[in-house]
Symmetry: C2
Subunit: 348 residues, 2 copies
DNA sequence: CTGAAAGCGCTTACAG
DNA sequence: CTGAAAGCGCTTACAG
């Protein structure tokens, strides 16, 4: 029996690479991690030896010795909503590209889970090197605790946050959507606005509502309180909101929904009242949900996968260069109006 | 300055627990892991000391020494499809319950990623203790390599697989759906069948087609080749398939779609031909996609979250008791017919 | 039932 | 530019 047949050859360790390259494990370690102070010749020999042996550092050992886990937590309110599923997928790909494993943590609306995670980030930093927050609404206490921790952080869709963030300009997107309605000659427009706490890191609904109001204001139009209804950002929420609007008040000429899913529900409520868009009323949303093209919903689209990938990349970069002292940035990706079949010109 | 103020107290190690309890770290280690041969008194002292110190074992150290990672890979074709997002969410929750971190790995249809992952499971087992496969189609070579590895494996939605699997009885679900059409008096029924390789671990489409054929056979009806069209299991796939069916052949009285999303596409194609369900034709799907209730689609529902949670639990149990020699089992969860608005009795 | 010792595979100062 | 040594916090035989 050969003592080192391929079959029973164990995984190569840093010692094997050191032996083969004729250098110390210490030098090997430095060479492999791209640290300075290595002669080009040594660098080359190490790389060749590692290559030949198919060497891959043990993340457990590296972590124990160096305090790195090679893992990043992707935290989402839930994975089942389209936006998060899409962003998670793109983020996971970007992180994998950087050699990082993605540990998925879904909050599922259970506040105690969120609190357990963020009240004491030290325990989290035992498990991961960094945290990618996707639309996670942190209260001020959680925000502060996380910012004070040693974890690297990046996020998608948050506001006023002391780390890299990627999102869209929600105010501008809502303005654009409302502007489209106005341009079509609809002056009597309702808004289905989202609900959210006012002291959290997620301010999407507030910004979209602000954009709506600014668009009206541009035309010196007042926002009619009767034409604003708050709702959950779901099909059911939109359905209930639209039903309420139709039941208690007069019919608007157009409806701006803060998100596509609520717009779906609104369309359904309208249909049940014998009103079809765009004939009876024009409807527009924001997001470009996959179902929107199927249903013909006019909307303002946002690049979801891009946001997830971008934020993940920023996080991976910070992790790679911890000394990188560049200040955190807030990136706003472009959105665009997609005209489909639920909006049309008013007939006065 | 107190040398051990709360602020600068480092994380407690096994040594601290040993010191406080007056036992060796070895005994502490055994007690904490629930190994036998510990006196009740020692057990108690260890637990108290650990509790008082807020001790939590370092997973990196445990892994390095013991070869356990405390991580499980959740592998999916993509996270963005409803089914997978839902199953992932439930699986992650169940795994977290068992103290396991979920590492998400999305294949995104890139065969080379799948191959890299499963051709050499040893590298994967460097990163995780177990693998949860959600609807992942392995070819025979990949299947064998994974089965031969030291990784614990469980899956959702696979067939003929040498590890614990959870799914539904696809053949029965399709039979039930088709039976419903037949019971309504529709004898001329078409099928929108899914595409899939015939040598893989995912046999959903084949089983659903078999169920369809058996239902017809029960009535001594032949499956008309003109009434069967293969398609991707997506909205677009269903749309194209239905369009094709309508263009080249006669109009069926009813349509059984192998999945709800394809049924959505079929509905759209029908509408574009001026046909609305259930008036012109009855349409039924399988899945109970979230949009199905919105669209009023009659379907056979399957419990997606339950499947994910169940499989994850089975995996966690195997990981907890590696000596557990019980043979792998195939669990089939119940489905049920949900009548909505796209099917109705035939008028002869 | 319990403990001393070796070792998992790396990284980190520190010396040279 | 390079290496010897210590150590990260556990677990695993082995001995008692």
């Amino acid at each position: 029996m050969s003592p080192c047949s391929v079959a029973d050859r164990a995984r190569a360790t840093i010692h094997d690479v050191a032996t083969l390259s004729g250098l110390s494990i210490c030098t090997v370690s430095r060479a492999l991690r791209g640290l300075p102070n290595i002669s080009p010749a040594s660098q080359l020999r190490v790389e060749e030896a590692a290559e030949k042996l198919g060497y891959r550092a043990s993340s457990a050992a590296a972590r124990l010795a160096g305090g790195k886990t090679g893992h990043v937590a992707i935290v989402v309110p839930k994975t089942t909503a389209w936006f998060f599923a899409e962003a998670v997928e793109a983020a996971e790909e970007a992180l994998a590209h950087g050699g990082l494993d993605s540990v998925l943590m879904s909050l599922r609306g259970r506040e105690h889970v969120k609190d357990a995670l963020f009240r004491n980030p030290d325990e989290l930093s035992e498990r991961v090197d960094g945290v990618l927050l996707l639309g996670v609404n942190l209260d001020p206490v959680q925000l502060e605790a996380l910012a004070a921790s040693k974890l690297a952080v990046a996020s998608v869709g948050l506001s006023d946050v002391p780390w890299d963030n990627v999102g869209i300009d929600d105010e501008a997107a809502a303005w654009r959507a409302t502007r489209h309605l106005l341009d079509l000659g609809h002056w009597d427009v309702a808004i289905l606005a989202g609900n959210e706490p006012s002291d959290g890191t997620v301010r999407t609904a507030a910004h979209r509502q602000a954009g709506f109001e600014r668009a009206l204001d541009d035309e010196h139009l007042e926002t009619d309180p009767d034409m604003m209804v708050c709702t959950e950002s779901t099909i059911d929420g939109g359905y209930r909101a639209m039903t309420e609007l139709l039941a208690a008040r007069r019919r608007p000429a157009a409806v701006f929904s803060g998100c596509d899913e609520a717009a779906f529900g609104a369309l359904k409520a309208l249909r049940e009242h014998g009103i079809t868009a765009p004939k009876g009323v024009s409807v527009i949303g924001i997001d470009d949900h996959p179902m929107s093209s199927f249903l013909g919903l006019t909307t303002v689209s946002q690049p979801v996968a891009d946001q997830g990938a971008f934020a993940a990349t920023l996080l991976a970069e910070r992790l790679d260069n911890p000394e990188l002292g560049s200040p955190p940035q807030d990136h706003r990706l472009p959105t665009s109006l997609i005209e489909r079949k639920t909006t049309r010109r008013a007939r006065h």
